[in-house]
Amino acid sequence: MLSMKNVSKVFKTDLVETHALRDFNLEVNEGEFVAVTGPSGSGKTTFLNIAGLLEGFTHGDYFLDGINVSNLSDNKSATIRNEKIGFIFQGFNLIPDLNLAENIEVPLRYRGFNAKERQRRVQEALEQVGLASRLKHLPTQLSGGQQQRVAIARALAGEPRFLLADEPTGNLDSLMARQVMELLENINQAGTTIIMVTHDPELARRAQRNIQIVDGQVCDFTMYHQGYRHVSDINAATDIDKLVANADR
């Protein structure tokens, strides 16, 4: 489904080169729910952006759904983002001047769906997140949790193969965070592959699999068991040796 081999990403500014990802290797299978954790600045967002074709990378190979996406044209990446990938952002990123229905329609319009198809999908997606009655509301008229559910509806309306979420609960209180997490779990159970960056160890633990990114590299613990105890330690850790030591214990 998703396969990165030796992907690296260097940000160059006038003064410094930042190696945001270095020799990054990762395989994600169809239907997985992967939680990505790691210290601040370790490269989680960079990884997610590259995975979602929001930005390019410097070296390596990346196959998405069997397609080599290393050198796609801007238009082709836009099409793949539009058709195969759903994005959920920490700040929800709803368009403030558009009501909920219009917000959810945005990617559907770029896809060229006709009005009837758009309306059907908007309705369905809003029902899925439990906000079907709020069609005409503006984003500011909703709570943060509700806004994030709308954003999820927007991501779902395109029926993506893949859902990428960068700290989707980062701006929410724990109750709302749990609701959003439940929603994501339901979506995953329906077959959508999800990669979620989070700082919340409790939420990370609920995913099938946890990935640590530290200093631009993967520490893939591939934990399918629920009894893993060290996630919270890992989140606090910034030192790879300490992590490895924890894992060995």
């Binding site: 997610l48 099409t79 700040g91 990123n93 368009i95 945005v106 319009r109 770029y110 896809r111």
Partner: protein
């Protein structure tokens, strides 16, 4: 796939910014449409054909101070001298100078009874010679020129001849030839039309009867003369005229050497000034409007950086972003254009009433709006292309 509906509803929800621009566009359209109409009107006035070879005709005044001379005889001698000068095509005396802003105007009666018969329209009354047509370069389209022996020395002569402009001929006798027709000056004098020239304008450019002219066969040797020669000879001709006429009689002053082109220029000076001012105003308004558009687009791009990144992340291609901004501003322009067009017509009607301008032609607001769309495209496209280059990663990177 222009997605007008969400752009429109988004516009309607973010009121303040576009409202100001909208007002600016409405006013610009109203003013530009009327200004360009007035410019066009004035240009058309200036481009009217006078029927005269304006640049070739050199005019001057001659004042005799010699109490002993016979003015009538001297006038004839002077004209002979003028016609004999090198490069001179022809020369004549005249009572007035075309397009100069000063001259004689009159009306005549169509019958002998001054109380009961109709008058002609107002016309410019030229007194001239058998050389007037050739000197002014007029085109005789009917009838004939005066013969030398037909020239009178003064207006006292009770039976005179006239060559009239075709516009005047049509105005008096719409369905018949003017040739042989007689016009009456009170009970005493009769003026017979013997020729029609295609065009001859009078002296007053703003007069509605500018095209109505009559030349009578009166060699009116008062002070004005017209000499025709190619314009490149005018400078030396001026010297030659002075030299020759002063040699003939030194007790005289020669003055005011000007071509009819120069006379016309100064008559149209106010029109030219008006055209310049209005053109500057139009250019300035278009410039301000396009700056306003560019400014608003740049402001909106700044304000919507994250939104644009999000749209790109959700699958917008670069061209979708560009067309978003174009459509958004076309909508503002369309609203501004329609309202501005209506205001333009309203303004035109006020101007028509107050300054007795002709009615605003509808094509002017239409062309102005069309021009506005071109300006919009230019003003919006460049910043919009910059917006399209906002990275999709902005969606996750910015707060």
């Amino acid at each position: 796939m222009l997605h007008i509906k969400p752009i429109l509803s988004s516009l309607l929800r973010s009121k303040s910014g576009p409202i100001l621009l909208l007002i600016q566009i409405i006013l610009s359209v109203a003013i530009v449409a009327n200004a360009s109409f007035i410019i066009q009107e004035r240009l058309a006035l200036m481009q009217r054909d006078s029927g005269i070879k304006e640049s070739e005709v050199l005019t001057f005044s001659l004042f005799n101070f010699d109490p002993l001379i016979d003015k009538t005889a001297q006038n004839k001698i002077d004209q002979q001298i003028l016609r004999g000068l090198p490069n001179v095509i022809d020369a004549t005396s005249t009572n007035m100078l075309p397009l100069s802003g000063g001259g004689w105007s009159s009306t005549l009666k169509l019958g002998p009874d001054p109380d009961s018969t109709k008058s002609t329209p107002q016309f410019a009354m030229y007194l001239g010679t058998d050389h007037t047509i050739e000197t002014l370069g007029l085109k005789l389209i009917e009838g004939r020129n005066f013969y030398p022996h037909e020239l009178k020395d003064s207006l006292d002569s009770p039976s005179r001849l006239a060559i009239i402009s075709s516009v005047l001929a049509k105005a008096i006798w719409p369905d018949e030839s003017a040739l042989g027709k007689v016009l009456y000056e009170g009970k005493d004098a009769q003026i017979t039309v013997i020729g029609v020239v295609e065009k001859l304008q009078g002296a007053w450019i703003d007069s509605s009867s500018l095209e109505n002219s009559v030349i009578q066969n009166v060699d009116y040797g008062s002070s004005s003369y017209m000499v025709r020669a190619k314009s490149e000879f005018h400078a030396e001709l001026k010297d030659a005229i002075k030299k020759a006429l002063l040699a003939e009689n030194p007790n005289r002053v020669l003055d005011g050497f000007k071509s009819i082109e120069a006379l016309k220029d100064s008559s149209y000076r106010d029109h030219k000034l008006m055209i310049t001012v209005l053109t500057m105003m139009v250019v300035l308004l278009l410039l301000i409007t396009s700056l306003g558009l560019t400014g608003m687009v740049m402001f909106n791009i700044q304000r919507r950086t994250k939104q644009i990144g999000t749209r790109r992340a959700l699958g917008a291609k670069k061209r979708n972003i560009i067309s978003y901004f174009l459509v958004e501003n076309y909508l503002i322009c369309l609203a501004g254009g329609v309202l501005g067009g209506l205001l333009a017509i309203q303004l035109g009607q006020q101007l028509m009433k107050i300054y007795s301008l002709p009615m605003l032609e509808l094509s002017y607001p239409l062309f102005t709006v069309a021009g506005l769309f071109i300006v919009t495209t230019l003003a919006v496209y460049l910043p919009a292309r910059k917006a399209a280059n906002i990275s999709p990663a902005t969606a996750t990177r910015s707060v």
